[in-house]
């Protein structure tokens, strides 16, 4: 009886183990799209550490935590990359990392919506990020984006607060490839 109970507990508990996923960095993109003088440009972060636990059948235990070293930014312009690190922008010396950490994930339509705490330049804001997940066997692709207002995070100080040259809206996007552990 005791043994059967233990077995039931294990069987009952097992669906609660959501899958751990390892991101394949060289096939994944994590970046942003911003505007300069009304024209959009894209940047990517070459490095980031992602901890992903995800199971479509167990969203309650699913979570995503991504830490991004801002200094790994690549906008294809050495001048711009070095300016992004400066105090007026991301102030990398004081705030070397940005962080995206989900607090809940809910099903919505064909995809999902993550409610997450996004921390940039020392400011944390709650964002709603819609995303899709495509799981095929041990491989998964997840993609989504969210538009934030850079000034909400204090990104672009002084003369840069105005939207005239660098637009306020910044679209953050990701397209991640991951394998199940």
């Amino acid at each position: 009886m005791g043994r059967l109970f233990a077995l039931l507990v294990i069987l009952g508990a097992s669906p609660a183990w959501a899958t751990n996923w390892t991101v394949t960095q060289d096939q994944s993109k994590l970046g942003f799209e911003a505007t300069q003088m009304g024209a959009s440009f894209e940047g990517q972060f070459k490095e980031f550490q992602a901890t992903i636990v995800f199971d479509p059948e167990n969203l309650a235990d699913s979570k995503v935590d991504i830490i991004i070293p801002i200094a790994s930014v690549d906008t294809q312009s050495a001048d711009r990359d070095s300016n992004i690190a400066k105090p007026e922008w991301f102030d990398v010396a004081t705030y070397p990392e940005a962080r995206f950490m989900t607090t809940s994930i809910a099903k919505e339509g064909e995809g999902y919506v993550a409610t997450a705490e996004l921390t940039m330049r020392g400011v944390t804001k709650v964002v709603q990020l819609p995303f899709t997940v495509d799981i095929e066997g041990q491989n998964a692709t997840a993609a989504g984006d969210v538009t934030v207002v850079r000034q909400d995070f204090g990104i672009g100080q002084g003369e840069w607060v105005a939207n005239a040259v660098v637009g306020g809206d910044v679209r953050i996007f990701f397209d991640l490839k991951a394998t199940a552990q």
């Binding site: 003088m37 024209a39 294809q76 312009s77």
Partner: protein, 183 residues
């Protein structure tokens, strides 16, 4: 003043295009010098955008100008002008046309290579003509910089030659391009 060129003088369209080009060149050089002293900040971006926009305007004007020239014979050079001077004059003018297209193109390519899309006076954004590359930016920057000096020298030679024709040869080479001169 007729719109089209005749044997003796340029028409008003050719003159308008020439002097618009003069103003655009003066502006693009003045802005280039000014922006090289600006610190990093929004006004630097605005100034660079203005420089790029005028550069693109030069390229557009050049296309119109070349089109107009193809269907409008230029007034003849002075009959007594020696062969080698004629050759130099034609080569210099050909070079100036090449510059009006090539220089803006190198700037546009630099913007594309730097992933800094070029906006035309904030009205629209030009498509990218190059894959972003830091090496290409450095190369194009050097080309644009040295070409700017070379072109400056050529323009001085162009002005100098016009003045020489006017004051030394005392022919109509300069006056027939003057805006309000009836020739």
């Amino acid at each position: 003043m007729p719109l089209r060129n005749n044997d003796k003088s340029y028409g008003s369209v050719a003159k308008l295009l020439h002097w618009s080009m003069f103003l655009a060149f003066a502006a693009v050089y003045a802005i280039a010098i000014y922006m090289s002293y600006l610190p990093m900040g929004p006004s630097l971006f605005e100034t660079i955008t203005l420089h790029k926009s005028i550069g693109l305007l030069i390229m557009g004007l050049a296309l119109v100008r070349i089109g107009w020239r193809l269907f409008n014979k230029s007034p003849a050079l002075p009959a007594d002008m020696p062969m080698h001077e004629r050759f130099i004059a034609h080569a210099a003018h050909l070079a100036l046309y090449a510059i009006m297209i090539g220089m803006p193109l190198s700037g546009w390519a630099m913007s594309s290579a730097a992933n800094f899309p070029a906006s035309f006076f904030g009205l629209f954004t030009l498509p990218s003509i190059m894959t972003p590359s830091k090496e290409a930016v450095d190369l194009l920057k050097a080309i644009h910089w040295y070409a700017a000096w070379g072109i400056g020298a050529l323009i001085l030679a162009h002005v100098g030659a016009a003045l020489k024709h006017h004051f030394i040869n005392r022919d109509t080479v300069l006056s027939r391009m003057l805006p309000f001169h009836k020739g």
